[in-house]
Amino acid sequence: MATTAPGWLTLSSALAWAGTLLLVASLLPMVREPRLVAMLGGLDRMLRWHHRLGTLGYALVLGHPLALAAARWSASPRAAWEAIAPWGQPVGVTLGWAALGLLMAGLASTFAMRLPYRRWRWLHRLLAPGVLGGVAHAGLLSGRAAPALALGAIALAALGWRLLRADLGLAASPYRVERVAMRAAGVIEATLAPQAAPLPVQAGQFVLAAFGEGPHYHGCDEFHPFTVSGVGAGGTLSVAVKALGPCTRRLQALQPGVAVRLQGPFGDFLDDRGAAPQLWVAGGIGVTPFVAALREGPVRRPTTLVYLFRDRRDAAFLEELQALAAADRGFELLAAEADERLAPLEAMLARVPGLGGRRVHACGPAAMVDALRGRLARHGVAAGAVRAERFDFR
């Protein structure tokens, strides 16, 4: 027995420390500083690393109590169970179970994409005490205080930085609502003027905005992502707001004069357009980044915008796009109503000259983007020529 138990104990310890290290490392990509995000390849890439490190760390940590029990199995099955039973244990062991429970609940809700965003965000925050509890458990029971303290300090620093600068908005820039225009049923466009140094925003990017108080308006004052629909003189920018949840429904009644806090900008969706002719595919409010690009001026290369929407009443910016297409010979607009079957898409793609040589940018629901990728491949468009953006923070 003594020849096999040490191996299991060593494995248990290795899994615990490796898993805890990865969990703490997963907090670092959540430090949402725009310049750091740009340096590390964008928010999407950082989110992917956050997901990978967190899930892998969790999986390793799961192995830790199992290996501990395995070390006791040859003594007796009862001893093995008593080594990990959640009850009747010292505080340090109970803390470990509590931390594991929080990680499990937090991760389970992370993958429940149908949850309303607010509830999803609240449940996702369970992961923070889960990680901290796991570090405390490691420090209490391993006898190795120094590495536990170091990991705990890194975790607290990352969480604190994120809480203060991003979630509470201490790093936010002050703006004020200058104009509000209705662009479709349930879609407004708010033009915002900077009250201090403006953010360096470009078409294709998004900002996090928290709308506060105005003379006759009370906003949620929560940060939500909004795609930039235009960049104006003097640092003004416009964002499109679609009514998707409690805060964005309240924003449909937004008025000029309301104070806004902005973080960002984030994203590089339209940075890599290259010199090739363009095909832009937009689903619903996904048309917004393309509107921002078209408002910059006449297109520099042949550009076709395929715009799909459920109903003409939902087609934000449609009239403006039609006017731009009429005025710019290099820009072609193909617009149609479509449901989730995307019936008109194939015929619209067939009308795009030289489709195989086009650089494609797509923005819309995931199902639309997935269907589009398959059809583009059949038309000879290389996978590397397609850039898609979901503009979803989960």
Binding site: M1, A2, T3, A5, P6, L9, T10, S13, H51, R52, T55, L56, Y58, A59, L62, P65, L66, L68, A69, A71, R72, W73, S74, A75, S76, P77, R78, A79, A80, W81, E82, A83, I84, A85, Q89, P90, G92, V93, M104, L107, A108, F111, L140, L141, S142, G143, R144
Partner: protein, 119 residues
Amino acid sequence: MRTLFLSSTLAFWITVAAFWAGGTWWPGAGGGQATAADREIAAAEVARHAVPKDCWMIIDGRVYDVTRYLPNHPVGPSMVVPWCGKDASEAYCTKNAGRPHTAYADQLLPAYRIGTLAH
């Protein structure tokens, strides 16, 4: 990542349930080791295993072979080696500094038990 989460969580709970079932319905199985742990060992016998490569010690009336554990001791083997072949009860309970070993150490110890001190 969703697949990794779901599969690892499912495997975890199935294994935990197996340990619970084993501990509940077959608590005393693994008799070979139980027999070894019941073996009575005299203090003189323990004293003959007093070097790092063959290190036995007595803690609270039980005899442990900690030879394979020595390299894994958190502060290194040097704090443990002086107690090879001896009764280390006081040292284990106080670490000679008024502080007991951790609950984790208490959990590890039974894995190294080889017998009971003969009186």
